[in-house]
Amino acid sequence: MATLSSTVSVKVPQTRQGGGGSTPPTFGGGGGDGRGGNGSPDYGERLRRARLGLAVGLTPVIMLFVSFTSAYIVRQGLPTLDVRTNTYVHDWLPVNLPWVLLLTNTVILVVSSVTMELARRQITRQAALAPVTSIPGVSLGEERKFPWLGITVVLGLGFLTGQWMAWRELAARGFYVATSASSSFVYLLTAMHAIHLAGGILALLYSAVTSLLRKPVEARRIVVDITAWYWHFMALLWIYIFALLEIAR
């Protein structure tokens, strides 16, 4: 750590831990999680960086669905050669979506977005109060810890189950993946959204694991915070996909 080039004078005193090693690190020290190993990290900076990273990281997700959308619209307007009659025909078959079921799923996802937001605000409050509550003997009274995160995970899984039921319903109505270009797109868009949402659920489960591992609440707050924004994005994305499938049938 202390390979200083000859032109640099060492600055003392060190008010922050690590580096000079005036105070032993309060936790970790291994750097196993990549960050925050050898000193008290600046959580504000890390949160800002994580949010920026998320905003950047959502760009390719948007590009992915923009690509699917453009393919959808192009394919919808494309005439097809019918090999039997040797003529060009429009073969786009409007999919008979189980829209009551999908609407229910949409409501579940929107509600989960609300509970996710409540979870985010809850942990933000906890993180803000963490320096106070860490003082021995100081208590802020009994705070009700409503399990908003758990409810969000359950609702997320409920949404995925609902989507699975929608697939079964589609199959029952005779629309399989390869039935028609339109049904291919329905399965493609719902599946790609479901995979991305499952990633959000994994992130929530990860934050649950970190709470069991007694990571500082500030670190857990970052995971919950960016997952919340991601989750809201997933809700918006689903509404967009649903609208696309309903409007541009």
Binding site: L4, M63, V83
Partner: protein
């Protein structure tokens, strides 16, 4: 020099595995990318040698592959292109040098997300292994562009079964890895610059890596979308890219009564092969700039440093790179003039493409302006930087020709196009990589590379690559088709055989010359002259730190930046260069 105490993001690892294999240190990850690209480039080069030998001795039996069938030749074409574009030209300049030097040049202790950075490299590595695995099951024939329906129907040819699935999987993994890398580069550049390092004080290399990351961020998602649709067409029976009525049974004569839709024709209907081309080239054209833009950054950096002059028109250079990046997203159609697109679309794509000539010309003008009346030091890195400009011009000048549909249509499927893109995105980008290697080698390994060997390497490579790719333009204009495995049987191509032979000889000499580089690289690591901390008397932050840089890059201090990146020959300054972290008092203007 102002310095403050910082807490590095993670402690220096001790064990070998954490230190060199699953390292979180951007410098180790950069080297991992670099050596992956080094392995890949020799593999890709070996394939090009086999192709060149086959073209002039079509009946010769080659080592490992034996007698070369047309499909074997196409397999070489595919694997050469894929390895070179993805695992060399995307990996080395951005993943290698960008990873190593972007954080140091902006004064950061590491990338923003070190774990993601490690994941990005290892995903790239797995992608490479999956691609190489395709060799062992029969590699696909569809070229690096993977045109459907050849790539979308497993029965369409040898290698299009499992080999093509592996190829697509590899590309999809590479997309994921590149997106992780791009996310890291952008966040790092925006959020981790040292005090005083405003965007307009960043070295042009950092601008280049930043812009390249943005291009990757926007482009790779589209390729991933195409890859997903392709995998669905291949494995789930969908018809995104496969039209109806295709017959891949190998029957060459029309059976009486016509083909039977149930047995002879593919079970697809209504897909559009052009949809794949649109998705692919929306990614593919920015990908070309992903390969070349880091080279532009390196060339700018080196021309200024070795001419002892500020870069001519710093802002113009930044805006030109941005303009090239933005225009790169609206020109993909020029790869598809052959597809029968509407002449109105073709016209729009053509105009946009030629517009790229403007920022490119600005860059070239500024590069020449930078060395004009400079006290030029012709070290090997400078030679390669000049070589980059030379190749950028000679490869770029054929661009405006190909941008015009009326010229592109006759030239598109000829050797003219390989001549064009190899010069500009292949060799020019490789020259950028060489320049960066010779320039940063002292900082990375603590030794200088051998100058004599470097010069030999430079002149052999410059003359050699021009000898290989310049004649291809003439071959193309004379009508020699590309991608054909055998040219000797066609009468009108007979007069071109001597020129083809010359190209193959030039390729052999050039490839031999690369072993000089390989030897120099490894020999200098151990036996090279010990390097000072700032051997080139350059100004940017990587030269203020120890050699090789410590784990947190600056040994516990945070650099503070007081100067622009290219303050050379400043009147009144004590030396002929002012380093970015020098005290502000040294500034006289």
């Amino acid at each position: 020099m102002a310095s403050t105490e910082i807490v590095h993001a993670h402690a220096a690892p001790q064990g070998f595995i954490r230190k060199y294999i699953f390292s979180l240190d951007h410098k180790i990850i950069g080297l991992q990318y670099y050596f992956l690209a080094l392995i890949a480039v020799f593999l890709g080069m070996g394939l090009s040698l086999l192709m060149r030998i086959h073209l002039i001795w079509p009946t010769a039996s080659l080592p490992i592959f034996g007698d070369i069938k047309p499909e074997t030749y196409l397999m070489f074409v595919t694997m050469h292109g894929t390895i070179m574009v993805f695992f060399v030209l995307t990996t080395a300049p951005q993943g290698g040098f960008g990873n190593y030097f972007l954080p140091i040049q902006i004064g950061a202790p590491d990338m923003a997300f070190p774990t993601l950075n490690m994941l990005s490299f290892w995903t790239t590595f797995v992608a490479f292994v999956v691609l190489i695995a395709a060799f062992f099951v029969g590699a696909p024939l569809h070229g690096w562009t993977g045109y459907a329906p050849l790539s979308a129907v497993p029965s369409s040819g040898p290698g299009e079964g499992l080999g093509a699935d592996l190829w697509i999987t590899s590309i999809a993994l590479f997309c994921a890895a590149s997106l992780m890398g791009a996310l890291n580069f952008i966040t790092t550049t925006l959020d981790m610059r040292a005090k005083g390092m405003s965007m307009m004080r960043m070295p042009l290399t950092c601008w280049a890596w930043f812009i390249t990351a943005i291009l990757g961020l926007l482009a790779f998602g589209v390729l991933a979308a195409g890859g997903i649709l392709l995998l669905m067409d291949r494995n789930l029976g969908t018809s995104f890219f496969v039209p109806g009525g295709l017959n891949f049974t190998g029957q060459t004569s029309f059976p009486p009564g016509g083909f039977s839709p149930s047995t002879d024709l593919v079970k697809h209907n209504g897909g559009s092969p052009l949809l794949w081309q649109h998705l692919f080239w929306f990614f593919g054209h920015p990908e070309v700039y992903i390969a070349i833009v880091p080279g532009m950054g390196v060339a700018s950096q080196l021309l200024s440093t070795f001419s002892r002059k500020p870069i001519f028109g710093y802002r113009a250079m930044v805006y030109a790179m941005l303009a090239i990046g933005i225009l790169g997203f609206v020109v993909w159609g020029h790869h598809m003039f052959m597809s029968g697109m509407s002449p109105y679309s073709a016209f729009a794509f053509s105009i946009m493409t030629m517009a790229i000539g403007v920022p490119s010309a600005i860059k070239t003008f500024n590069w020449i302006g930078t060395i004009y009346k400079g006290r030029v030091r012709f070290h090997t890195p400078m030679l390669f930087a000049i070589g980059f400009v030379s190749l950028f011009v000679s490869g770029g000048l054929s661009g405006p020709f190909l941008a015009q549909p009326v010229l592109d249509i006759p030239l598109h499927d000829t050797a003219y196009v390989p001549g064009h893109f190899h010069l500009i995105m292949g060799v020019a980008a490789i020259f950028g990589i060489f320049a960066a290697t010779y320039y940063w080698f002292p900082k990375m390994f603590g030794h200088m590379m051998n100058e004599t060997l470097g010069r030999w390497h430079f002149f052999i490579t410059l003359v050699g690559t021009y000898s290989i790719f310049m004649p291809m333009h003439y071959l193309g204009m004379a009508g020699q088709p590309r991608r054909y495995s055998q040219l000797t049987e066609v009468a009108y191509l007979h007069p071109l055989i001597p020129l083809n032979r010359f190209i193959t000889y030039a390729a052999i000499v050039t490839i031999a010359g690369q072993f000089i580089f390989l030897f120099n690289l490894f020999w200098s690591m151990a036996k090279g002259k010990k390097a000072a901390d700032n051997p080139w008397e350059a100004t940017t932050l990587e030269w203020t730190t120890a050699t090789p840089p410590p784990h947190d890059n600056f040994g516990g201090r945070t650099p503070v930046v007081n100067h622009g990146p290219y303050e050379y020959s400043v009147p009144g300054a004590p030396r002929d260069y002012v380093m970015q972290s020098d005290p502000a008092t040294a500034q006289v203007h």
